[in-house]
């Protein structure tokens, strides 16, 4: 039997789901000829308040992107606020992906001593994070940045500094941050009641993230031993043997390495593309959002519904970013529709 807090949260999520833009909305926006047309449509959605604050002459894709991300953050934390007990603990860890992304952005900039300011981060209120981002922004290099992460959940990042110095690539730190993040999220999933649907959703997300990481590293011709070290050490359907075979084999042999997992068809689909590397993210993300969409339809009374909702929030933000960017880059409607997650 589900706890009243779970029932309350799922019910609230049902209500929040009605705020989503529909696939028809996305298709209509994809046909738009100017940003103002898109803005007009968004004025009837959750984005209206933020967009309303933006003077019409200042409307551009990068400002709109920040509004979409801000709304995404608000949606994440509104939901977390409504949760209680273990569900809340899980959600608090799940929405930490925003601070993880911001941390990655800071580390990337510090790698080359590039200037980074707050407006380049995803807008995240101080109340939603334990990380002192203003201090991190002022850090002079990666070592100082990681040192400032002591007393936070990411303190162990300092252990990877030597590897980072040896190889000189930030992916080592980024993948380790992902490992810390998913490790915490997975730990909280295991503590939830009725975790079947949520396990599948989060587990497959971990596997897909791992797949993307490993295939990207293969593309960069990183040594197999290092790939295995950098991979996220949590397995759902992607076993360690699969990871080992993926790391040791060629990029083209990835379907064979994935035999016995539900990801064989994805690997085949990726390889079918004329340029597999460029389609990798789209194909893997499509699979992730298909899972979320399936969970929204079939787990309407489970906690998994809440996670599926969060994933779909992310999907909406990404779709909107893609649409506004495509309009700015004069991408054809046909090409744009192929890239949308609908």
């Amino acid at each position: 039997m589900k706890s009243p807090s779970t029932i309350y949260l799922v019910t609230r999520t049902h209500g929040m789901r009605t705020h989503f833009l529909t696939d028809e909305n996305f298709k209509t926006m994809a046909k738009s000829r100017s940003l103002s047309e898109i803005v007009d449509q968004l004025l009837r959605s959750d984005y209206a308040t933020e967009i309303g604050k933006l003077p019409s002459e200042q409307v551009d894709p990068s400002k709109l992107e920040m509004i979409f991300l801000k709304t995404l953050v608000e949606r994440f934390f509104n939901l977390t606020k409504n949760a209680k007990g273990k569900g809340r603990e899980f959600l608090e860890n799940y929405v930490a992906r925003i601070e993880i992304e911001n941390l990655k952005r800071i580390l990337r900039a510090k790698h080359t001593n590039a200037k980074i300011e707050e407006h380049k981060l995803i807008p995240l209120d101080r109340q939603h994070t334990l990380i002192n981002f203003p201090a991190l922004l002022k850090a002079k290099d990666i070592e100082e940045t990681t040192a400032l992460l002591r007393e936070t959940p990411y303190t162990s990042l300092t252990r990877r500094i030597d590897d980072y110095k040896r190889l000189g690539i930030t992916i080592i730190l980024e993948s380790y941050l992902d490992s810390i993040y998913f490790d915490k999220v997975w730990e909280k999933v295991e503590k939830l009641e009725n975790k079947k649907s949520i396990r599948k959703l989060v587990g497959e997300e971990i596997d897909l993230s791992n797949l993307q990481l490993i295939l990207t590293l293969k593309m960069k011709e990183i040594a197999s031993r290092q790939i295995e070290e950098m991979a996220i050490p949590i397995s759902y359907r992607l076993r360690k043997t699969n990871i080992k075979r993926l790391a040791q084999g060629r990029f083209e042999d990835s379907p064979e390495a994935l035999v016995g997992t539900p990801y064989v068809n994805i690997a085949i689909e990726i390889l079918k593309k004329t340029d597999p590397t460029i389609e990798l993210e789209t194909i893997l993300s499509k699979k992730l959002y298909q899972n979320a969409s399936f969970a929204l339809r079939n787990s309407s009374l489970e906690f998994g519904y809440v996670v599926a909702y969060l994933m779909m929030c992310e999907r909406e933000a990404r779709n909107l970013v893609t649409i506004t960017t495509a309009l700015d880059l004069e991408v054809t409607e046909e090409n744009l529709l192929q890239r949308l997650f609908i």
């Binding site: 992107e65 080359t112 980074i116 690539i169 930030t170 460029i278 990798l280 789209t282 890239r339």
Partner: protein
Amino acid sequence: MSAAGRAAVSRGILLRLREQLVFTKKGQELLKMKRDHLASETNKLLSKLAERNELDRQLMEAYENLKVAYLNIGFSSLDSQAATVNEMGVRVRPRSIMGVIVPEVIMEKKADIGSISSPSAYKAASKLNGIMENLIQLAEAESRLESIAHELMMTNRKVNSLERVLIPGLIELIRYVEGRLEEESLEEFFRAKCVKKVIRGRKK
């Protein structure tokens, strides 16, 4: 150049004019050599410029990949990925080809794109990075060609003016001076004969 109206005629001037002619001819030879060398450099550079179409095609392909990367991860995230790329190191130093100063671009350090974690951004970056060296070489070739073509035109003009105006003028002048000197020596000879004849007549 007309020799008419030139008054001063002497053996010294004739010698100076002959020396000037030899010097001018040597200069003309050197300029011709310079012209030939510059022409062969131009030919070499023209073959390099022919690669431009292929480079344009590659650039368009790279920009298409970049567009996909933008669509996949958005402006802010791509901006963040781009922050991991170290600046490439390029040094421009002057080089002289037959006295023409042309730029020589030396790529000292390639951009390091190893930290880009998004596959589509990495793909776009690796394409652009691969093209960058060729793009720099093309820019160097175009810039060299511009300087060399200008110098070639100037040298050609100089050779033509030497060949068609200055040297024929000098030859004509030398011929004129030689003629005048011959006339003067004949006059002198005739005068001496006359004087001899008058002296002989007085003696008789």
